[in-house]
């Protein structure tokens, strides 16, 4: 079980969190202006990398806030957590 460093509460057991999938997939500014394919990409297409992945978590059994984390999907190591709206940090 991961130990996830909530940016608001500090490190907590994974059981307190809900996973929210890939981060930085913004709701389109004007959905009506998108082609069917562009809209389908927003709806259905997500990255599935082996390695660093920016993803969303919600501390549902704690502060109930959403935040982002950069996790290595191969090792489960969390390299960074940051608040919603902040840019993805650069990880060497």
């Amino acid at each position: 079980m991961l130990l996830i460093p909530c940016p608001w509460c500090g490190p907590r057991d994974e059981a307190e969190f809900h996973y929210g999938g890939q981060a930085h997939v913004a709701y389109p500014e004007d959905p009506a202006a998108l082609s069917d394919e562009e809209w389908a990409r927003y709806l259905f297409f997500r990255d599935n990398p082996k390695g660093l992945f920016a993803e969303r978590w919600s501390h549902t059994a704690g502060c109930r806030r959403w935040f982002n984390a950069v996790r290595d999907t191969a090792t489960n190591e969390i390299h960074a957590v940051y608040r919603t709206g902040e840019p993805r940090p650069v990880i060497a």
């Binding site: 079980m1 959905p31 009506a32 069917d36 919600s58 959403w66 489960n76 919603t84």
Partner: protein, 946 residues
């Protein structure tokens, strides 16, 4: 009752009486079931799972592959290893044919779980583990030392080694007692660490009362699960001896050399009278000499090597023990147990048969790397050991002592293990942020002979490999492995799946590496490049009861009840689970079955007046200057135009356009709405709102608060509901003009502050009366006081709403259904520029003509009730499979109002099929049904105003 013929002479102790396979025996306190059976000369303990071959005790710990037993008394428990069952008075057990039986009665014991945190967790209280814990604990670290056995010492328990001039076992006991007295140290005995997960989350199972039998105190948890988060972990898990594949290597009387040594030294039991020893390294010599000292005649030592350790050879010569170098055991022979051993020069040459009732085998020692591997560590092959040892890991864990392969020759050296453990303890605590002084005093160990290199022998070559076992518990032989490699399998993972080697409940502790070795031999490759199979938790079997802990029976899941619950119970309601809620299902009168009760309740609601406890509906307060904008984005229809005092029904969809939830929105003020959700989705809708507010629209000034449990709600339904309400709320103008449909009023009902909403989920004139949940019961009792209002439950609610074609999200929808599919085109705003889901209605998929629509179904026989989930086909006879299905029944009831059965269904192109006849395959029959509109009752809506 028999004496204990194989107990060493002069041994005294408290006698323990037990029964095995229907016979009474005596053992001694401190015995395991295995050692007590050996003391009584019981050789065949169980039989093998596939071949039914007799099997005896092979090992002395959790690696035991053979001696599987069923505890019968005091409480039935299947598939335990006789080597790990501590003996107690009154124990009744049976040997198993590889499979056990579940208990036939409820387990009276309790189980619990504990969370713990520490700076350093040390797994294993052998020499390395005790040294590691000692250094870390004396430097002030918060230390947990966990060990699977009843007493500390690990490998020291099986040897005659001394530390500081006294038996190693005594040193271990004293040192661990001293550590346990330190305030920050916790010593867990009988505690097996079974899983090592991410971020040093470690799960262990402590057996607290199993060893006490019937004397176990009832109030004490039988087993306890420890969930430990450790800053650093030191794995001092030692090693397991492995065997060699040769003919008949499964006969009772064949035993791992180290295990025999443990039985002789620790349990004071002779595992036989006359032994042959077969070894690939020096470690079996120590076993042979200890057994000789204990009174076992060592007939010969067959050493595959040309050059055994000189010191050991000399010691054997002193005792007159014959050492045959370059020799192997070609077969163990005997009827049901070993009576002779065939030995011969390796490769070819004349064999000879040696009479013996015991054959000790050592194929080398394998470091116990299970937890290290589970934690994500890599393994590397150690040529000297002939085994895999811990390599790299990203976790804060390291192995120490023999688990790390210290010594490098396969022979554990005590001094090296102590030093390695102390170093690991020092490193671990320093890494956890402590200043660790050097100079921890280690006990003085005896000089040990320098070990000669081992020779790694996996199998003794033969013409027939049919009884060369590699996995005793799974009955897998070299012949089976060759069949796998002959079929073209070249990966140990594939061979494991093909042969099942390593998949038994011993998880291949003795067989895993041997399997790899045999595969490597067959393919002519190096074990190093072949690797091992992946180690997975749990390290040893864990009972479901332990994992369940206290979360069983009434404590399995929280139960939520409404303020009126006790009234429902007193009235004999049957209950239905809606998530964690208990909702009254129906209220049968004496002599009524469910069908009769529901028809009566339905009639009361349609023809008279009835009431339901609707308190479980989710309720969310949405407050803030941007609340209206926010709801416009969430719902498919317009909410910002709703007037204060009014109510609107709404549907919420996902961005893909599929229905997610529905409910009503009440406007309390310009900046305040009360949103209701379905009972089961209350938390999900609140999460949904929070997600959008926090991640997409943080600029919106809106706050959402769950108020589900703050309100109690009574739905008052039926043509006479207005009259009842008028009497209960004399201050309220109840007329249709002054209190129209889809509006709300604050008033007093039965003297209680209330908010009354004119909402109908039945199509009838109806009111929802909301009060503080503190007054929920008082309100309900006031409504029921006159006796004219019929209470009704969720089943009647379902029938009433289905007659009107109102869908239930999650029953009539499944995440692939749009509002248009439900016939609710009218609720999808054309005016709003955007809302969640809107763009998806322009996708080709959502306008396909063959989409499933919600329709009604009338079985042609009005008495036939279709099962929910039944499929629908076009033809009156089923074609060959696969049968094309048009859709399925989502709701099906008997209707009092229609005087017949009916159903709702999702049917491909359903609205175009109204009037068509379809068929529902039910069992062997095809039930003819007619497709209708989903609104079957009062389609013109004439009844809602009373």
């Amino acid at each position: 009752m028999t004496a204990q013929p194989y107990r060493r002479e002069g041994v005294t102790g408290k006698t323990v009486r037990f029964r095995f396979d229907g016979r009474d025996y005596e053992g001694l306190e401190g015995d395991t079931l295995a050692s007590a059976l050996l003391a009584n000369g019981v050789r065949a303990v169980a039989s093998s799972v596939k071949l039914g071959r007799p099997r005896g005790v092979y090992a002395a710990g959790c690696e035991e592959p053979n001696a599987l037993v069923q505890i019968e008394e005091p409480f039935p428990e299947p598939m335990l290893q006789a080597t790990t069952v501590e003996l107690y008075d009154g124990l009744v057990a049976t040997g198993l044919p590889g499979q056990g039986r579940l208990a036939d009665r409820p387990d009276p014991a309790r189980y619990d779980a504990v969370h713990a945190h520490c700076d350093v967790l040390v797994v294993g209280a052998g020499p390395a583990g005790i040294a590691a814990a000692g250094v870390a604990a004396r430097a002030g670290g918060r230390v947990i030392l966990a060990d699977e056995r009843p007493e500390p010492g690990g490998s020291l328990l099986g040897t005659t080694e001394t530390l500081d001039g006294r038996p190693g076992r005594e040193w271990a006991a004293e040192e661990v007692a001293a550590l346990a007295a330190l305030p920050e140290v916790r010593v867990l005995r009988r505690t097996t660490v079974v899983g090592h997960y991410d971020d040093n989350y470690v799960v262990a199972v402590e057996r607290r009362t199993n060893h006490l039998g019937a004397a176990a105190p009832a109030e004490m948890a039988r087993e306890r699960v420890w969930r430990i988060r450790a800053t650093r972990v030191v794995l001092a898990t030692g090693g397991h001896e492995r065997f060699v594949a040769f003919a008949g290597n499964d006969l009772p009387g064949v035993m791992l050399a180290g295990a025999a040594r443990t039985y002789a030294n620790h349990y004071r039991v002779l595992p036989g009278r006359r032994a042959v020893v077969f070894t690939t390294d020096d470690s079996a010599y120590a076993a042979a000499l200890d057994l000789a000292d204990a009174g076992v005649e060592i007939a010969a030592i067959a050493d595959v090597r040309r050059a055994p350790g000189e010191a050991w050879a000399a010691r054997c010569a002193e005792r007159g023990i014959e050492v045959l170098t370059g020799y192997v055991v070609t077969a163990a022979k005997g009827e049901g147990e070993v009576s002779s051993v065939e030995i011969g020069p390796r490769g070819a040459g004349a064999t000879r048969e040696v009479a013996a009732d015991l054959l000790l085998v050592s194929g080398g020692w394998t470091p116990v790397v299970h937890l290290f591997s589970q934690a994500g560590g890599t393994l590397r092959y150690d040529e000297g050991l002939g085994a895999f040892t811990p390599g790299e890991t990203r976790q804060a864990v390291e192995a120490a002592g023999f688990a790390r392969g210290v010594g490098g020759t396969g022979v554990r050296t005590l001094r090296a293990c102590l030093e390695d453990g102390a170093e690991a303890g020092r490193r671990a605590l320093a890494a956890a942020g402590f200043a660790v002084a050097s100079g921890h005093r280690l006990p003085a160990a005896e000089e040990e002979p320098t070990a000669a290199p081992a020779e790694h022998l996996w199998l003794v070559e033969a013409g027939d490999y049919g009884t060369h076992f590699v996995d005793l518990q799974r009955d897998v032989t070299v012949a089976d492995v060759l069949r796998a490699t002959g079929a073209g399998l070249t990966s140990v993972e594939h061979v494991k799946r093909y042969t099942t080697a390593g998949t038994a409940h011993d998880q291949g502790k003795t067989s895993g590496l041997l399997t790899s070795g045999v595969v490597a031999h067959a393919l002519g490759v190096d074990v190093a490049e072949l690797g091992t199979t992946t180690f997975r938790a749990p390290y040893t079997p864990v009972s479901f009861a332990a994992l369940a802990g206290r979360d069983r029976g009434p404590l399995h899941d929280p139960v939520r009840v409404t303020a009126m619950h006790e009234w429902h119970v007193a009235r004999g309601a049957l209950f239905e689970n809606a998530g964690q809620w208990k909702r009254p299902w129906y209220y049968p009168r004496p002599g009524e079955d469910m069908e009769a009760a529901v028809l009566r309740e339905c009639r009361a609601a349609r023809e008279d007046v009835a009431a339901m406890d609707a308190s479980t509906l989710g309720k969310i307060d949405v407050v803030g200057p941007d609340a209206a904008v926010f709801l416009d984005r969430l719902y498919t229809n317009m909410m910002s135009t709703l007037k204060v005092g009014s109510i609107r029904y709404g549907v919420m969809c996902r961005p893909d356009g599929m229905v997610f939830d529905d409910g009503t929105v009440i406007r309390l003020a310009d900046d305040r709405f009360l949103v209701t959700t379905t009972t089961g989705n209350a938390a999900a809708v609140l999460d949904w709102m929070e997600e959008w507010l926090q991640t997409e629209w943080p600029d919106l000034r809106v706050h959402c608060t769950s108020v589900t449990e703050q309100w109690a709600t009574v739905a008052l339904v039926g043509p006479r509901s207005r009259a009842v309400l008028a009497r209960l709320a004399p201050g309220l103008a109840v007329g249709n003009d002054s209190f129209p449909f889809m509006t709300w009023r604050d008033t007093e009902v039965a003297g209680i502050e209330a908010r009354v909403c004119r909402i109908s989920f039945s199509g009838e004139l109806a009111y929802e009366i909301n009060v503080s949940s503190w007054f929920g019961l008082a309100l309900w009792e006031a409504v029921m006081a006159s006796g004219e209002v019929t209470p009704y439950g969720t089943e009647t609610m379902h029938v009433l709403r289905a007659e009107k074609g109102f869908p239930i999200v999650g029953q009539d929808t499944d995440g692939t259904v749009t509002p248009q599919d439900l016939g609710m085109e009218w609720i999808v705003s054309k005016k709003k520029a955007d809302f969640i889901g809107k763009r998806s209605y322009a996708r080709a998929d959502t306008s396909r003509p063959d989409r499933k629509h919600l329709v009604g179904l009338l079985p042609e026989d009005p008495g036939v009730l279709l099962p929910e989930g039944a499929h629908l086909v076009e033809t009156s006879a089923l074609p060959e499979p696969p049968v094309p299905t048009l859709g399925f029944v989502t709701s099906s009831y008997r209707s009092a109002a229609l005087g017949r059965t009916f159903a709702l269904a999702l049917v491909s192109g359903g609205r175009e099929r109204v009037g068509e006849r379809l068929y529902a395959p039910v069992g062997a029959d095809l039930v003819p049904v007619t497709v209708t509109s989903h609104v079957l009752y009062d389609p013109e809506g004439a009844r809602r105003d009373g």
